[in-house]
């Protein structure tokens, strides 16, 4: 079949390119003036250890934010079986809330005098607004479509996404909003185990890990989490166990929204800029991360986010530059979606496997 041949061709091509790129990189590290480098990319100088560590750190911190958003995609997919494309907007609303609040705090001087309190307050506010938005979305847009084919809520979610983007555009305008500067003690470079790491990135890593820990505890160890997993596996049986299915679905949206809200604040503090479009690309990347890790699988979503972030940070210099591709630093997004294509071609159930519900298993 031509389609099969075409797919095989893509598989072979991508893997060949990755292998050649890696070999060329290794060769370049050994001998910068080797024949392949002279042919493809005479200007390439390879990577030093510190550069590599820097890329790894930025990839990990970026990736852990993708992971936080991906959790929301994955949880909703697990429970309702559709991709909530508006989840990126929940993240954006978190970042936007953080901006509005922190700007007010900055105006009256509290941002500098009492930074930790401000930080706690903006995180709580972001969680509040993101959670409310996610719950409202479920109630208004998705619950009435509960029993329709899965494609319909999916398309609705795209509509919801545009609606929220434009609502925020209308309310706050198209300009790029900048978070106030972070205090020096937080943002300064630190050196941990020979890794040079900006304090902000360190904070992102710590907060993301803590959030993931809390979520894991809720889902695996508490009654609420067991109810969520039961609803994800079989709604009818879950309700026969005395579980209120609607309430559990609302909880799922709320928890996903809270994670996205935390992610939004981290994003705002790290990149210090937010617009009404901020949710789009991270949202799509997080969706990619959820698929890469195995959709419906929470650990997979976080791991997928981290792998995706690292890949898009490291791969341009590791694989593309030795191949002589021009302008590699701008090819992050291309790398991320190539990773998606690779995963879909080679392991469609994701790196860590999807969690199937009982109907799908049977």
């Amino acid at each position: 079949m031509t389609v099969d041949r075409f797919l095989t061709f893509i598989r072979v091509f991508l893997v060949t390119m990755i292998v050649i790129g890696l070999l060329a990189f290794v060769w370049q590290q050994i001998d910068a003036d080797n024949p392949f480098a002279r042919w493809r990319n005479p200007g390439a100088r390879g990577l030093t250890g510190d550069q590599f560590k820097g890329l790894l750190i930025s990839g990990l911190s970026q990736g852990s934010m993708y992971g936080l958003i991906a959790l929301g995609y994955s949880m909703v997919y697990g429970v309702l079986g559709f991709i909530n494309f508006a989840h990126g907007e929940v993240f954006m609303v978190g970042a936007m809330t953080g901006f509005i609040a922190s700007e007010k705090f900055n105006d009256n001087g509290m941002w500098e005098s009492n930074f930790l309190l401000c930080l706690a307050l903006i995180v709580l506010m972001a969680i509040f607004f993101s959670t409310s938005l996610a719950v409202l979305m479920e109630r208004v847009a998705y619950r009435p479509l509960r029993n329709s084919p899965r494609l319909i809520p999916l398309i609705t979610s795209i509509g919801v996404s545009f609606f929220i983007q434009n609502l925020v555009l209308g309310l706050f305008g198209p300009s790029t909003k900048s978070y106030p500067r972070l205090p020096e003690w937080l943002s300064k470079q630190r050196s941990i185990l020979t890794f040079e790491i900006a304090g902000t990135r360190l904070m992102v890593l710590v907060v993301a890990a803590a959030s993931m820990g809390v979520l894991w505890y809720i889902v695996e160890r508490t009654k609420t989490g067991k109810a969520m997993r039961a609803v994800a596996e079989d709604k009818e049986i879950a309700s026969l166990m005395g579980i209120d299915v609607n309430r559990t679905i609302v909880t799922t949206f709320a928890v996903g929204g809270a994670m996205a809200g935390v992610g939004g604040i981290l994003w705002g503090l790290m990149f210090r800029s937010v617009t009404h479009m901020t949710g789009f690309l991270p949202g799509v990347k997080a969706f990619t991360a959820a698929v890469v890790g195995g959709i419906g699988n929470l650990g997979g979503a976080m791991a997928g986010g981290i792998s995706l972030g690292s890949a898009e940070s490291i791969a341009p210099l590791l694989i593309l530059e030795p191949l002589g591709v021009p302008g590699v630093s701008q090819l992050k997004d291309a790398v991320a979606f190539t990773v998606l294509v690779l995963v879909l071609l080679f392991k469609p159930s994701g790196l860590f496997g999807e969690r199937l519900s009982s109907e799908e298993r049977a």
């Binding site: 809720i218 160890r221 508490t222 596996e233 009818e236 049986i237 309700s239 026969l240 009982s358």
Partner: protein, 261 residues
């Protein structure tokens, strides 16, 4: 007053009467078997009681109050639990979790307690676990020990059936509906489970309704037998009465061919 009263129950799917004119009571502490050929409406009857299917006419009263139109989760919290003919567990959850989740409607701690690690939360989690182990212990060594932490999909077929009964027991019901509990089991397992059904009444105090095709089981466990055919009750009474009823014999075996002259 009887525990469950079925009054003129009628259920229609499109133009088909899955059940009609069903009238009977189930008394506290009874074991009642519902039998009948395939498609007689037995499972539909269970679906109606547990709230999965809405009756077209008639009423179902549990402890004197109508349960028609209630959400399945509310019905469960009132004290009715069931199992399924084709076992429906949560396959990716462990044996223990399957039984723990069934106690959802009997506990009230919320997510805040979990986040703050309150004493009440820890105490309740411990109680849920203890009760789960107690229920699983009812089946002897079969579901405890290393099996507690196995995912349900890894269990043998007979153990899945046992786990489903354990899960129903864990919702702390007063009325237990068992849909073909011994289907697909070998004779030894069947005999064992038949004995367990009796113990469910004597030791746990459940009132039990069983749908069963295995007539030996029906004979051994039931106080009373209700026979359905094409959605209509055709006989009721003790096993001996029912098994000699000509209508029942006809429903199962067909009418004898009349000799033509």
């Amino acid at each position: 007053m009887s525990l469950l009263e079925i009054k003129d129950l009628k259920i229609t799917f499109g133009g088909l009467d899955a059940l009609s004119g069903l009238n009977f009571d189930i008394n506290e502490g009874e074991i009642v078997s519902v039998i009948g050929p395939n498609g007689a409406g037995k499972t539909t009857f269970f679906n109606a009681i547990s709230g999965l299917v809405a009756p077209s006419e008639g009423d179902i009263e549990f402890e004197g109050d109508s349960i028609v139109g209630l959400d399945p989760s509310t019905v469960t919290s009132l004290g009715i639990a069931r199992t399924f003919q084709n076992v429906r567990l949560f396959p990716n959850m462990t044996v223990l979790e399957n039984v723990m989740v069934a106690q959802h409607c009997r506990t009230r701690e919320l997510i805040y307690g979990a986040l703050l690690q309150t004493k009440a939360f820890k105490k309740e989690e411990r109680e849920i676990r203890e009760r789960a182990e107690e229920v699983l212990g009812f089946f002897g060594h079969r579901l405890i020990g290393y099996r507690l932490d196995q995912p349900a999909f890894a269990l043998s077929y007979a153990n899945r059936r046992r786990l489903e009964i354990a899960r129903a027991m864990a919702t702390q019901p007063r009325l237990l509906l068992l849909d073909e509990p011994v289907a697909g089991m070998n004779p030894i397992e069947t005999a064992e489970l038949t004995a367990l059904i009796g113990r469910l009444r004597t030791e746990w105090g459940f009132t039990i309704v069983v749908i069963e095709h295995d007539m030996k089981v029906v004979k051994d466990v039931s106080d009373r037998v209700v026979v359905l055919d094409h959605g209509v009750p055709i006989a009721q009474g003790s096993y001996d009465e029912v098994s000699s009823d000509p209508n029942v014999i006809e429903a199962y075996l067909g009418r004898p061919v009349e000799a033509k002259a």
